[in-house]
Symmetry: C2
């Protein structure tokens, strides 16, 4: 790391409890974590995951941490720390000079880091000629019940999502709050079977969950919760709002399955402010399906996943 940035960071980010040695040495040292450690890493590139010409560095910093915390949430894990490595364009980005970019990224992620108990303990800053790149690795503690995997969906399970989907490009993809508390509650109180976060679109991610679990998922598309932003997107694109809900991606909502009785209990309790919707069922027929009639197994029609497929 560049020296003056390290000094600023050491002063700005005092090492909290659990951080035995913070920013400034060759590596950070953190207190032992009880049980298995959950680790994730996500890298964001200007022009792909954000637009520095439109988005302030603080929002980009928030997103860089939030996408990682969303992955920890998807496992039911509790964050314990993160490191940030950046490639800074020599000429700056979005009118922000190079030497202010890293500080403003950090300022943007600190509120979320503090709120979620995820201290920034180190990282690396480098200057190059390319676009702004922010890479975060975050780790956390597995829940006592064991992590929620995406390959554990079981035939007969109900399929549910948190929140509403589609249109995240209008702002949610930058400003969302990762569903950490919601995920922990789902794991602890309702015995989540399979879980993942929706990054590439409900359809493509549901297909991934089905494939990983060796099952099929049938979605009642009429039940999919469509975000108002998906309707706003639909006007200029001319595509149905539902299509945006199924395929836009970067919703960072939770897609999960529960045994039917637990799903019923959850829908009755309604413990989550973000809302939970039952959108389908796990079936034995491999693949992704749309429920096209009143009788489930006689009315499965293939559902083509349309999501952002990483090139």
């Amino acid at each position: 790391m560049e020296l003056s940035f390290v000094e600023w960071l050491r002063a700005r980010v005092p090492a909290p409890a659990g951080v035995l040695l913070g920013i400034g040495d060759d590596a950070a040292v953190i207190a032992p974590v009880a049980g298995p450690i959950v680790v994730t890493s996500d890298l964001l590139i200007d022009g792909v995951h954000f637009l520095s010409a439109e988005h302030a560095p603080e929002r980009i910093g928030h997103k860089a941490l939030a996408v990682n915390l969303s992955d920890l949430a998807a496992m039911g894990a509790s964050p314990r720390g993160a490191v940030l490595s950046v490639a800074l364009p020599r000429a700056g980005a979005g009118g922000v000079p190079c030497d202010q970019l890293a500080r403003r990224l950090v300022e943007g992620l600190l509120p979320l880091a503090e709120r979620t108990g995820c201290p920034l303990v180190g990282g690396d800053t480098n200057v190059g000629s390319g676009p702004l790149v922010a890479s975060i690795t975050a780790w956390g503690e597995a829940p006592p019940q064991g992590v929620a995997r995406r390959d554990a969906a079981s035939v007969g399970d109900a399929v549910l999502v948190t929140g509403a989907l589609g249109g995240s490009l209008l702002g949610k993809h930058l400003d969302f709050t990762p569903r950490l508390d919601e995920a922990r509650l789902l794991v602890e109180r309702y015995g989540v079977r399979a879980m993942m976060d929706i990054t590439d679109g409900l359809a493509i991610d549901a297909q991934r969950m089905a494939r990983a679990s060796g099952v099929g998922i049938a979605i009642d598309v009429a039940a999919v919760p469509v975000d108002p932003a998906a309707h706003r997107r639909a006007a200029p694109t001319g595509r149905p709002a539902l299509e945006h809900a199924l395929g836009d991606g970067e919703d960072f909502e939770l897609l999960f399955t529960l045994p039917i009785d637990a799903a019923t209990r959850l829908l009755t309790d309604a413990p989550l402010a973000c809302g939970v919707t039952r959108i389908g069922q796990v079936v034995s027929e491999s693949g992704l399906w749309r429920v096209a009639g009143p009788s489930l197994h006689q009315s499965l029609v293939p559902l083509e996943p349309r999501g952002y497929e990483h090139a």
Copy 2:
């Protein structure tokens, strides 16, 4: 991660013992680590830390992991795992198509990962328009004696380095082996006081150690082990080989201090194949000094650090 790469990676990198859930879910899950966890992150950019036009992706992958392991070595830690996140240029790099870059980076780092017990457990691949960026976060287990910090140099300590310095640009900066075994031995058997790895050049890094420790470091420049590569560099640059040894950086050797009696014991035992050289002493006068005469404290001349200072 892009799907076919994930599938390739899952087959290529079977989850070893200690990895409870490897590549393919939202996050990896690793077995509990005994004691404090040491974490480091380094990001490499094409054109800054390597040249894709000259260096094969395998060498770049090796370096990306090795620089992180060098940081763990500098703490005396034992690696336990790593994640790799990359920004891949859509047009490829160095004549290698985009869709082969990530695999070849991984092929390049796997031998080192296997040799050092540092499984690759996950990461993120993204395609953009900028240069190739490889970001690795690695973690490890602190030594039972506690980590070796850079701020623990004590007045009267001997200052030593492993190996030889300078000219790393001729190849060592890509192909070096991180001094993990050497560092552990120094911590376990000789009670290392302060330690760091040499990344920005001996002079600038020694100055950092001195500043962090609130002391001074006096270097007997005649004793500095000069790598043959520094001599080869000196011919075209017209600068003395010693200057290359003091300032080139990316040596990834260990700079450390020991109480005098431990230093004497180490130099007598000579347990390290890479060699160890005593190059100076920790003094009470703050700053970086050159020993310019036979009597230490009457002959300290300021030594100007010339190293690669991150912009």
